[in-house]
Symmetry: C2
Subunit: 249 residues, 2 copies
DNA sequence: CACCGTTATATGTCCGGACAACCTGACCTA
DNA sequence: TAGGTCAGGTTGTCCGGACATATAACGGTG
């Protein structure tokens, strides 16, 4: 066992898509569709490279990208094995809007507040701007199926995005940030819980004292600049965070 | 600007530690200590390789590992830049015990229950074993500074670890799993919140109805086998999850 | 039968080179 | 001045090869 001679890969050398990427995509598809059985060996890199007319470094690069995704496991002296998957999604930096939309929940947004305000000490520290300097403050209510799901408060440096309320009602904040040509890089998050205040309860259609899930997040672009600080509250009865994480070897 | 001729790297070719790893460690240390200023360019790979007496692929491998960690950013045609850090810890698969210990919180554990039991449908599905088959069930109370922090309930396949109560009181579950020669690979988590029941409140020294942070986690080893299913409850007043996540490019 | 060394096999590391694609800034032109 | 063009510099991709090292299977030895 261990060989998969039936598997076909089509590589287009005239394509601008890198060869290693073409291969990794097709390997991933084969794993996804079960054409590469979980637990089976992939066949050694040398032969694979020869069969595909590629060099071994190129094949290794393709395999490595899938190892990084958690789909494959390499064992020295043994081979490269397809993982019994079960899982997916290694925790992406996604917006609640996209999550809800992907789940078919018909998200909607109501913009409650939208103005530039002087930064509080907390916001200034998170965004790395002077305290008291002007920042954009956006307060939104996120609905799913017409029911309130979360109360979202975001602070952004001024002039970063074209965030007029109309566009914020139509899509998620992250899409607007990306559309402004900003490359998101990383985020620092804190997830906790607390009891609803009377005002929060009224906003989210929960009784006072109901448990709420809180999330604070500072997002950075690829220059290390903070581009957004969010302070969000979710109805614990309706929402939870779900994600997968990989062990860094 | 952009060059760092002062930086010295010492590479030991007789060491069993790979050269790219030696280099990446020293680069990381230099970034950590500020000897490589945030935002500054690293200097091109070709020269760096020549200066160090290494090949470019080796230098690239070192740099790439730091890019994957989020410490560096590459820009084609520009160079490799040190990120304005601010952050660290890209969300590891760590145990609460280690987290508390690292924070100097003097963790302690009280084992409440420790026995093999037939798996419920929920546990069986998570662990991938037949419903009703025997699994190890461990129930613990985690304390910090003598105060209860969390109530931990874990189910594990039988025979996986030597988990006698005495050892569980001394250390975290993950350490025992790793000590059993198991290579942790990934985990699937769900984080939510709910109100404390009277029993939970009594256990955790919280009033009934107090908000609690909940976390369910199934952990897999590098063969894809589920090795642990945990169902945990944390005092929201004392604990929150904090982590960093990277955007996959 | 149990133990241990040998051997085949696979990935891990490293090299040196080549060309392509992209970004920036300087220069030229309308 | 405004715009486009071009050259230089840097990372991205890809090649072919070499040797090291971990693993498992085999087979010999006590």
């Amino acid at each position: 066992m261990a060989n998969h001679p039936a598997l076909q890969f089509s590589l287009d050398r005239s394509s601008p898509v890198p060869l290693y990427y073409q291969l990794s995509q097709q390997l991933e598809a084969a794993i996804e569709q079960g054409r590469l059985a979980p637990g089976s060996l992939l066949g050694n890199e040398i032969d694979l490279a020869a069969r595909l007319g590629l060099s071994r470094p190129t094949v290794r690069q393709a395999i490595q990208s899938l190892v990084d995704k958690g789909l494959l496991v390499r064992r020295r002296g043994v081979g490269t094995q397809v993982l019994h998957s079960q899982v997916r999604r290694p925790l992406e930096l996604s917006s609640l809007y996209d999550d809800l939309e992907a789940a078919g929940q018909h998200p909607a947004t109501r913009v409650l507040h939208h103005a530039t305000e002087p930064a509080t000490a907390r916001v200034a520290a998170a965004l790395g701007v002077p305290e008291g300097s002007e920042v954009l403050f956006v307060e939104r209510l996120r609905l799913a199926h017409g029911e309130p799901m979360a109360h979202l408060r975001n602070h952004l440096p001024v002039g970063l995005i074209d965030a007029d309320p109309a566009r914020l009602e139509e899509t998620g904040l992250y899409r607007l940030i990306r559309a402004a040509g900003i490359t998101l890089h990383s985020a620092r998050q804190t997830v906790g819980a607390r009891a609803a205040t009377p005002e929060e309860g009224a906003r989210l259609a929960e009784p006072e004292g109901a448990p709420l899930l809180t999330m604070e997040r500072t997002t950075y672009d690829d220059t290390g600049r903070a581009v957004e600080f969010g302070s969000h509250v979710y109805r614990a009865s309706r929402y939870s965070f779900e994600f997968q994480l990989l062990v860094r070897p």
